[in-house]
Amino acid sequence: MEADMHLTHNAIALEPLLASTSNACGASLLFTGTVREHNEGRPVNGMRYTAHEPLAEKALAEICREAEQQFAVATCHIVHRLGELRLGDISVAIVVHSAHRAAAYEASRFAIEALKARVPIFKQEFYTDGDARYLDGQTLDAAL
């Protein structure tokens, strides 16, 4: 994974994300989403994430820049994993570095909500009974 990429087919390493702070920043916030063993009451044993990668990369970069500008935080970076994930694997990590904590919380929350609304990534859930389904999601606001 290159430093400025937002999508990866490999396991997400948190240490490099956390290390990328500067001494100007007093607050850091790391959000991670992981594959849960249950969803809507059904036992899950894995996930598969796919994406329309060129647009997903661009949308993630835009969300990071918007978060930085709207909340005046020094850095917002998002990494989303694609491919097959097992229970406990990290699907998404969002790190925000900021001089003050209030902005860090707001920027991080903005970024995850925007990701879920605007980035062409698709989650397929696999259940322990062998069934699989794509989760319903949010319709992109274009070309309807």
Partner: protein
């Protein structure tokens, strides 16, 4: 003209594995979707829920479609 469609997520189950090369009359994203819904009635659950993209650009309803374009068909998104 000839368009290469790339369905994502649950649309793969309806339209098949990408790419899907079709002869279409549509010249913009809106009419392309209308034509697809007509040809593939199984798309009915996704009425008003598919967006189109070309490369890294999301298409508006009146964005032009050109011969040879690869058009991504984007159902509701569920990242995170």
């Amino acid at each position: 003209m000839r368009i290469s469609l790339i369905p994502y997520g649950p649309l793969v189950g309806v339209l098949g594995e990408p790419p899907l090369d079709l002869e279409l009359e549509a010249t913009d994203a809106q009419t392309l979707l209308a034509e697809l819904h007509q040809r593939f009635p199984a798309l009915e659950p996704w009425t008003q829920r598919i967006a189109c993209a070309c490369g890294d650009s999301l298409l508006g309803p009146h964005s032009a479609i050109h011969d040879g374009d690869e058009i991504a068909l984007i159902p509701p998104v569920s990242g995170g």
